[in-house]
Each structure stands twice: as structure tokens, then as C-alpha cells.
């Protein structure tokens, strides 16, 4: 699409304009922001970002700006703002703890979109990576979709042609955390018939492009294709292994599809918990240990709807012998793993440092295993794979794990 000059007001909603004025600079969010934890730079904090953007609008669109014209917003200022915007991992903790309820996660998305649509664009690494890959392969990864299930699909799993229960593994699970997809299909297989899209039909959900790169122009085509594909399979309840896929499915898919989705999308953990209630799933093996659960940001602080906090815990509590304990920061204020929304690609050093903070938090608990349920957490915490070589990442990779870390579904699949 044609790139336009930057108009600060265009495309912002009433709610977002009000939010820019709502910040009291109480500085509460700085105490919770994972980027602040590792950079200690208030200039890239949420209040600083809100204040700066509000200033740009005031300079260009208000009476004050017209009566007392100050210098134009320079390219340097905008470049600094853009850097700050992409130093954020979009974990949404700032909005959760915000004393006046600013929905920052959505606001950062909007501002990223504005940059991507303008001549200033998104960071080059994202433009050339996930975005270019999407245009070529319909995936953020540089590979055709054809063989994707072969990476992780066990030989003994049979997919139904049509079924009420569907499973969407998401690109991140396939290429970055195939262990999660394997665990989920083993569990669904044990609970009854389920189906999945044919690999070529199973496009990306749009999160890496829309959130990471800020490119929303792909969403209408994508949502229409995917919704039709799921509906054609007869799916009524769709489990999504990646919480970020689900987040965008609930937030942007219905908008870009133009109406409510014809199926109920939920996290893998939620659908498995439902199957547990329906008596279709049972864990027979004992697990004599104490585990802790890390709530991934997209489940703890979703764009829309309630946080998914109980379902994973319900599953773990159903395992004989297993003891579950919570970390100090859990639930809606759980820590960020530092991996999401382009952070690993654009600022791998910040990303690795944030992951280390979560490790230190987990280390404080007496649990033997930390479980989580997100491919990005998996990548940043378990395999510690980063997109760019970097001394900070090297250092992070050399740290020995203080405890075992694994994906919830893979852990549970071993207990069937």
C-alpha cells in the first residue's frame, strides 16, 4: 500500500485520544515495565511515550499549537519515538497496573500501525523478515507451509476430516516450539476426534505482522481466508496453541472479517479444561513434584475478554500427586518473557535481559519445574534461541537453568 506522510491524528480513535490525555504520570507503570527493569531509561517508558505523542498532536492539531507555533516535529524526534515504540514487548503490564486504566497495549499497536503505514515504516529487520516472509509464504518464517506438520506431528495421531473440535497450531509453535504442538495434539487425540486445517491452508494469524511490524493491511485477506477455512472444517470450538494468535483472533479478526467469528476460539488450555470437565480427558500417571506456572502475557492481559488464568491451573490440579505453587508475580501481573512482538528480532539484548529477570523470579520459588504455554516464552526461556548474535544473548545462553522449564501441554501429554 502507498506510504503516506505522518499525520498524528489520522486513524486514532476517540478512546485513544482521550487516553493520551488521561495519563497522570504517576509513574506506577515504570515499576512493572519489563523494559524499565533492564534499561532503567524513563525516556522510553509508557508515560514518556504518551506525553511525547500528545505533544506532537498538540503542536499540529490544537488551538494552542496554532496560536503559539513551536518548531515542527522533526524526523529525529519521530525516529526516537519509533525506537521507543519498538523497544516495547507489548506485554501490556503497563495497562494492567495503570491507575487510570489506559489500554496501552492497544495504543502501542495503533501507533506501530501508524508508523508502518507512513513513509517512516517499521524497523528494517521486521520489514525484511516476518513481513516479507508473509507476502511470499503466508507465514512469518521463510519456508513454504507444505511440510510444517511433519516437524512435530507424531505418527500415531489421526486427524478427522471434519470435527466440532479444531486445533490451530500457529507458525510459532511449528517452527519455534514444535514441542507445544506435539503435546496439544496428543492431548486432543486422547479426548476424541479433532481436526486441523490442511497445512497449506493454515496461514499465519497475522500477529507478527500486525503487532510486530505494524502492518494491518494484510488482515482483511488473512481473516477472510482463515475464518472460511476453519468454518469449512465444521469447527465450532477452536483451540489455539499460541496465545498471541488467539489475542489477534479475538481482537482484529472479527473486525477485519466484518462480523463475529462462526466458531468459539480459545486457548488450548481452556478447551482442554472443558474436555476435562466433560470427562473426555484424564491424567492417569502421577507426577510427584511441585511446579509453578508462568502466565504468558497474551493469556494474562488479553486485548478483549477475560484473562485466562484458571484453565491451566485446573489442568495441573487434575494431575495426581502434582503440587502447584504460584510465583510472586503471577496472574494478571505476571512477568514478561521479553520475546514477543518483534522484541527478540529488533532488540535481542533487551529481550534476553528481560528473560533473565523472569528466570530470577522463578528461581525464588521452590518449584522444580516452571511451565508455560506460549511459543515465544518457550523460545526465549527453554531453547533461548535468538534471531541475532549478540554478546548479551551469549551471556544469557551460558546461564544454567535454575529449574526445568517446559510447555504445559507437552508436560501434561507425558502424564496421559
Amino acid at each position: 500500500m502507498a506510504k503516506t506522510p505522518f499525520d498524528f491524528l489520522e486513524g486514532l480513535t476517540k478512546k485513544e485520544l482521550i487516553e493520551l490525555d488521561a495519563c497522570t504520570r504517576c509513574n506506577e507503570c515504570l515499576n512493572w515495565c519489563p523494559v524499565q527493569d533492564v534499561t532503567d531509561d524513563p525516556n522510553i517508558s509508557p508515560p514518556a511515550r504518551l506525553h511525547a505523542y500528545k505533544g506532537y498532536i498538540e503542536r499540529t492539531h490544537t488551538l494552542k499549537g496554532k496560536l503559539f507555533p513551536s518548531k515542527q516535529v522533526s524526523d529525529e524526534e519521530l525516529k526516537g519515538f519509533k525506537d521507543s515504540l519498538w523497544k516495547c514487548a507489548l506485554c501490556g503490564t503497563c495497562g494492567e497496573v495503570c491507575t487510570v486504566g489506559i489500554d496501552t497495549k492497544k495504543l502501542w499497536w495503533t501507533l506501530r500501525r501508524k508508523f508502518a503505514e507512513s513513509a517512516l515504516g517499521c524497523p528494517e529487520a521486521l520489514e525484511k523478515g516476518p513481513l516479507a516472509n508473509y507476502h511470499k509464504y503466508r507465514s512469518p518464517f521463510p519456508f513454504p507451509l507444505t511440510n510444517k506438520y511433519k516437524i512435530w506431528m507424531p505418527d500415531d495421531i489421526e486427524l478427522a476430516d471434519q470435527a466440532e473440535i479444531g486445533f490451530y497450531e500457529g507458525c510459532g509453535c511449528t517452527w519455534d516450539a514444535p514441542q507445544m504442538a506435539e503435546g496439544a495434539v496428543r492431548l486432543f487425540n486422547a479426548a476424541g476426534p479433532f481436526t486441523m486445517l490442511d497445512p497449506e491452508e493454515s496461514w499465519c494469524c497475522g500477529f507478527p505482522q500486525a503487532a510486530g511490524s505494524g502492518e494491518w493491511s494484510i488482515m482483511a485477506e488473512l481473516a477472510n481466508h482463515m475464518v472460511k477455512a476453519f468454518a469449512d472444517k465444521g469447527i465450532k470450538r477452536l483451540a489455539v496453541s499460541c496465545p498471541m494468535c488467539l489475542d489477534i483472533m479475538k481482537y482484529l479478526w472479527p473486525y477485519f472479517y466484518g462480523e463475529e467469528l462462526p466458531f468459539r476460539a480459545m486457548t488450548t488450555a481452556e478447551l482442554l479444561a472443558d474436555l476435562l470437565d466433560e470427562g473426555k480427558l484424564k491424567f492417569t500417571k502421577r507426577a510427584e513434584e511441585t511446579v509453578t506456572y508462568h502466565d504468558p502475557c497474551a493469556m494474562a492481559r488479553p486485548f478483549m475478554g477475560k484473562a485466562v488464568l484458571d484453565a491451566p491451573r485446573k489442568l495441573l490440579n487434575a494431575v495426581p500427586g502434582l503440587k502447584l505453587m504460584n510465583m510472586d508475580r503471577h496472574g494478571t501481573v505476571s512477568r514478561c518473557c521479553g520475546g514477543s512482538a518483534g522484541e527478540r528480532v529488533v532488540n535481542s539484548d533487551i529481550s534476553a535481559k528481560i528473560a533473565r529477570e523472569l528466570f530470577l523470579e522463578a528461581k525464588k520459588s521452590t518449584a522444580g519445574t516452571m511451565l508455560t504455554n506460549c511459543p515465544v516464552c518457550y523460545l526465549n526461556l527453554v531453547t533461548k534461541t535468538h534471531a541475532a548474535p549478540n554478546p548479551v544473548v551469549e551471556q544469557w545462553r551460558a546461564v544454567e537453568d535454575p529449574l526445568r522449564i517446559n510447555d504445559l501441554t507437552q508436560y501434561l501429554a507425558a502424564l496421559l
Binding site: F141, P142, F143, N147, K150, I151, W152, M153, P154, D155, W175, P178, Q179, E182, V382, T383, K384, T385, H386, A387, A388, P389, V393, W396, R397, A398, V399, E400, D401, R404, I405, N406, Q410, A414
Partner: protein, 84 residues
């Protein structure tokens, strides 16, 4: 997870093709030698055949199914860097 540097052998061309689409980040690139491959997955201490859940390579939950399939056919296991 521990750093997996298990040597893979006896894989089919199709499996090799799939493996090539997987380990592409700078930190998990596969190393090739004498028609074999060396895994480079995970971090920290080198794993010598038993993961932190006590599982051997053939049943290791951390390695993707495609790799486990190769390992389940394999009889000899080597770990670490290739010999000079």
C-alpha cells in the same frame, strides 16, 4: 533445557529437507560433517544423553518429533563438537 549436540545419522532426504526448514536461527543452526548432522539446540551445559527429565535421546521431550524419529532409528550416539 541443556545444550543438545547429539549427532544425527541415517536421516532420509525428506527428513533433511524438513530439518533445514527448522534450525535456521544463528543459534540453532545444524552443523554438517561426513554426511551427518550435529544438533545445536538449547543452551548452557552440554547434554550427554539424559535430559533434565531423565529421558534418553530417543524419548527426549525437548527435541522435535522429526528429530526423535531419526534418533529412534539410530544405534550410535555421539555428543559434542565434531572431531577435528
Amino acid at each position: 533445557m541443556l545444550l543438545c549436540k547429539v549427532h544425527l545419522e541415517g536421516f532420509t532426504p525428506e527428513e533433511k529437507e524438513i530439518l533445514d526448514t527448522m534450525f535456521f536461527h544463528p543459534y540453532d543452526k545444524l552443523e554438517e560433517y561426513d554426511g551427518k548432522l550435529i544438533m545445536n539446540y538449547g543452551s548452557g551445559e552440554l547434554c550427554l544423553g539424559t535430559n533434565d527429565f531423565g529421558e534418553d535421546c530417543k524419548h527426549c521431550r525437548y527435541v522435535p518429533v522429526v528429530v526423535r524419529r531419526i534418533l529412534q532409528r539410530q544405534e550410535h550416539f555421539e555428543f559434542g563438537k565434531k572431531q577435528a
